[in-house]
Symmetry: C2
Subunit: 335 residues, 2 copies
């Protein structure tokens, strides 16, 4: 038998483990979902690399961490326009990102780079074909980057660059570090729905149940994924989606999946965002009327003020993540 | 005093911690190094995004994990051509990558995406300027992807696609998963040295000492970094570099840094790689003659056979990583 003092020491060790800073990971790693082969004669215009050959594109990069201990439902974090999975990591001012926060809360957490973005390969064929005079100049793929000035208003740091909304929670003293997160976006060169959507469906099926947590450009993706198949979708959290499904469309794909659509502050002040909230409000009402469980979470109405479009990086980002953990605990069955 | 049995239980717990699968991380996260602002009128050709504005480019994405417990010198892992930091993560056939292996061996480990690759932003301005007829077509940036067929020989899976060298250690049954790691490469559109080089220098200085571990296209980067400044470079491991510094050039930057250049198998069978090994052999001899500590590690001469250019993903990848840990323990001072 263990002595009383020994049990005390063990208890101290275990309590220490629970509150200590270090994080224990059961497993981690990365893989790709999807992808298709493309044959091209314009892969390169450089002598060192052959112009003709096969490449693989439209695969989706997935990085994951699975915490030690009891498990909550897996989460899949899907970033928005002109960004990558970096969105969910360390904030621009150096605080913990949602990727790690959720792992610390017991969620196996999967962070993706959208197809043709970040570590998910894009296709240079048409660009090189234009360079070689084989394709008309106006067929050059419409790649784009969002400039700081335009992004400022889109992300609702203020009404226009460089004005700031009063009470702003985004750490604007570190905005230069945020701009470094923004990358060239190939989304407009891809099919609709974005090939990220079937990849998310395949991931959800592989995980046998995941909450799809999307943002902005990708806000609609979980709904498009549900329209392909409900299989593996344990819940949907859509943060400030660029769009919701049409309220007068086929609502059947959305009736059985616990869903919350989240909007932050200053929405009514934005001609870009106010109509999107309106549409999502109508969509949620239509789903509820049809017997489904889609709800809206409007942060200012809950007394949480000052949040930008980049709420996962705002100063109170972990408070919002904690709210979502509460919503998941209440609405999504444990695995 | 603790009872004998209690000490036994504690010992068992500690021994369990040392061999158990879970990994305890003291801290982890990501950040960018470097970056400069570019003003452009051709950021976008899409109505939804303004053409004019400022973007930030040439920053280098860095993801890190710091293990709990005693620390070895920080490692910085730098991937090669047409690849990203994914290179060091889970192998195509699902085994542990070097990123995690080194953390488990006590090394704070930093994995970068080269400038303009992966999560490090590229600049669409000239592509859009061509699309809009403002820039001549032949000025289209020479972006490229390596096709599977050409990469097969470059990575020395065999003499030519799809022939396989006898005794091949690369997990070719999972080669389709490997192809998904390959991305569009902007390196030829950038200055020389690649802007990744000053970013590596800034990272080394920030870390107050790191071993720069590079591969292939980036093989030369640690040497170029040392030529900028030796500050913060605790050691150099260059895996199958695309080039070594000229043996008859200024060797002073390389004399004080413990350095090892590693080549794998089948090099003499490759007209691409044999001259590179020859150059590195001459460089190492010149540094040694001048009193420096650059050495060659030729795996086949050590009895380690069958390794491809992607040795960090070969079946015996962790054996090679263990060799490098031995080299670091012997040659690089603890922090």
């Amino acid at each position: 038998m263990l002595s009383k003092m020994c049990l005390g020491v063990l208890g101290l060790l275990l309590a220490g483990a629970a509150v200590a800073e270090p994080l224990t990971i059961e497993s981690q790693g990365s893989f790709f979902i999807g992808g298709r082969e493309v044959k091209s004669d314009t892969l390169s215009t450089l002598p060192a690399y052959a112009p003709s050959g096969t490449i693989t594109v439209e695969q989706m990069y997935v990085h994951y961490q699975i915490p030690a201990g009891p498990k909550k439902p897996p989460l899949t974090l899907i970033h928005g326009c002109c960004l990558t999975g970096k969105t969910w990591e360390t904030t621009p001012d150096g605080r913990m990102g949602w990727d790690e926060y959720f792992v610390r809360q017991g969620f196996p957490t999967y962070v993706v780079d959208q197809v043709s973005r970040g570590r998910s390969a894009a296709d240079p064929s048409i660009i090189n074909s234009v360079k070689l005079g084989k394709t008309a100049v106006d067929k050059t793929p419409p790649v784009f980057s969002a400039g700081h000035e335009a992004a400022w208003a889109i992300f609702r740091f203020g009404p226009e660059y460089p004005k700031v909304y009063p009470g702003m929670q985004f750490p604007l003293e570190a905005v230069d570090e945020f701009w470094k997160q923004m990358v060239l976006d190939w989304a407009a060169t891809l099919t609709t729905p974005n090939p990220t959507v079937p990849a998310l469906s395949a991931l959800a099926i592989k995980l046998k149940g995941t909450v799809l947590l999307s943002h902005s450009q990708s806000g609609i993706y979980p709904f498009q994924t549900a329209a392909l198949s409900n299989e593996g979708i344990a819940g949907i959290i859509s943060l400030e989606p660029g769009g919701c499904p049409a309220p007068d469309g086929d609502l059947k794909p959305y009736l059985k999946i616990p869903t919350v659509v989240v909007f932050a502050d200053y929405v009514d002040l934005s001609t870009r965002w106010a109509p999107r909230l309106k549409l999502c409000r109508e969509f949620a009402a239509a789903v509820q009327k049809a017997g489904g469980k889609t709800e809206l979470m409007l942060l200012p109405e809950m007394g949480i003020k000052g949040n930008s479009h980049m709420l996962m990086q705002d100063r109170n980002s972990l408070d919002i993540a904690a709210l979502l953990v509460g919503w998941i605990n209440k609405n999504v069955a444990a695995p």
